[in-house]
Symmetry: C2
Subunit: 313 residues, 2 copies
């Protein structure tokens, strides 16, 4: 198979042996694979793949067709359209994924959209609903809403009946985030008057924590998923006590199979119906064929876009 391969801080396509599915695993002919921030970190050598994943083939998400089943795999059949988060290896013509991490692709989704669904929607849904427990009628604030996880978070929160306030640094992207369902899109320093907020999705980092806590409602929750702007936060425990608030944080990639499988089941139950109905969607900024993986990474790194960069294979 042909695969994107990381070596010496660069990414390029090479030929690699076809992978074979082990017990409970499925071999997928990849049709689309979204890029994510973690790919850039891995290209720089800062984010090694977890054990069991190809060490040098990037790609945390993919969509494609089932072409072979490993021993005992039974959830899907050859030819089924599937998508998944993977520990790595998604940016290739073939990828092996455990069947319990796979989700069916709704008929309404084309391949580029499906390839951009798993990582950002699973991350958002897990953070905002499974962890922070956002409820209909609550006020939801997302910092860094123009990114992949942010655009997914805006949509699933809006679809679930929350009032959505988004902060976006790049003013050129404000209209796009508003079109995705945000009730307000504000500059990063302009949100404090709009609260109090019940759930804050933090995709920027530590500098936002004090103001987010100040703007939090009684019983509020801050969930930290992105820390690009810094990780050393000042936390006022008196304010946290007074608001009976919680701060939580997580990443998906190092979780064990059973926890990742649970996030996939939550997606099937709560997000795939919204995608099938068109209530939420995957904004695609640009697609690139696998051969142009270098250009795709450069486009992703340049920023200033709204929506996913997706490799199509």
């Amino acid at each position: 198979m042909r695969a994107a391969v990381i070596a010496d801080g660069e990414v390029a396509v090479q030929d690699r042996p076809d992978p074979e599915p082990g017990a409970g695993e499925v071999l997928v002919r990849v049709r689309a694979a979204g890029l994510n921030g973690a790919d850039l970190h891995q290209r720089k050598g800062n984010y090694p793949a977890p054990p069991g994943s190809p060490p040098d083939i990037p790609g945390l998400e993919l969509a494609g067709e089932v072409v072979a089943l490993g021993p005992g795999a039974q959830r899907f059949a050859e030819g089924d359209r599937v998508m998944a988060i993977a520990g790595g290896g998604g940016q290739a013509e073939l990828c092996v994924v455990h069947e319990r991490q796979l989700m069916p692709v709704p008929d309404e989704l084309d391949w580029p959209s499906a390839g951009g669904v798993p990582e950002v929607f699973t991350t958002s849904h897990d953070a905002v609903f499974t962890q922070a427990g956002l409820l209909a009628g609550e006020r939801f604030l997302v910092h860094g809403a123009a990114g992949g996880v942010g655009t997914a978070g805006v949509q699933v929160a809006r679809a679930a009946g929350a009032h959505v306030t988004a902060t976006v640094r790049n003013e050129a992207l404000h209209d796009g985030v508003r079109e995705l369902g945000a009730h307000e899109v504000l500059a990063p320093d302009a949100y404090a008057d709009g609260g109090p907020y019940d759930v804050v999705l933090e995709l920027i980092g530590a500098p936002n924590i004090p103001d987010s806590l100040n703007a939090l409602n009684t019983g509020g929750r801050i969930v930290v998923i992105g820390i690009g702007a810094g990780f050393k936060a000042d936390l006022n425990l008196l304010a946290l006590m007074g608001k009976r608030a919680r701060i939580m944080a997580s990443t998906l990639r190092p979780r064990p199979l059973e926890e990742k499988a649970l996030t996939a089941r939550a997606m099937e139950r709560s997000v795939l119906p919204l995608l099938a109905r068109g209530d939420v969607r995957v904004p695609i900024a640009e697609t690139f064929p696998l051969d142009r993986v270098h250009d795709a990474y450069e486009r992703f790194a340049a920023g200033g876009k709204l929506g996913k960069i997706v490799l199509v294979t």
Copy 2:
């Protein structure tokens, strides 16, 4: 009635009009009322009573006999032995409490013990179980274990099947905390090797947060209830993400009636049976008659004790 009254930074007994129970409320002839750290803050003028509570009669907890029922009150009958957290006013011969905040006193408890149960056991149980979700088999760390909430936390965690590690600054109190059920009692700087811990009950304050987070297990929870040593904490969001951890904090006193009532129901279900069986108990350091309320406060403020200071009326 005679009541402890706070004026000009001092506390002394005065005569006051008998309170009358309103709708759903119960008039209790107080037999015992434990002292708590909040009483000292209120004596200094730093912790005003919430609306609806007597502004100058302290006392967050009490035990006694029902002597009159307000309109619609039906959970208890005259003569019943009851105990409760109150918004204030517990350190008096009579106190009005909403019936949904009252709990029955198990037959096995004498008055001083009953007067020392509500605040520390409700606070501990709510923090460790309702908020942090401690499970049997998990490792539990409590900082400041020799205080009232700490001794209650050690006991309920041990009774629920957790492994209990306690830190206590005063070495003279280590044996007493061990006798309450702690598997290890350590100096405040000696716990880091004993983890990783699944739940940390923080009763000291901000300086402990970085080391507690370092010693936390994947999926661990830190619950902050006491901040006497400081409230400005350094929080490493990268570590919080890597451990998929949560930090939560709360106080009981400002919660609305319905939330306080829920904590009383949780106590009835999960803690009163342990008290009745003698699996957990209320260590009493000293009792004082109401007339000696000044001496009781001075004894409480002096510290160095294990167990509650309780006024008996």
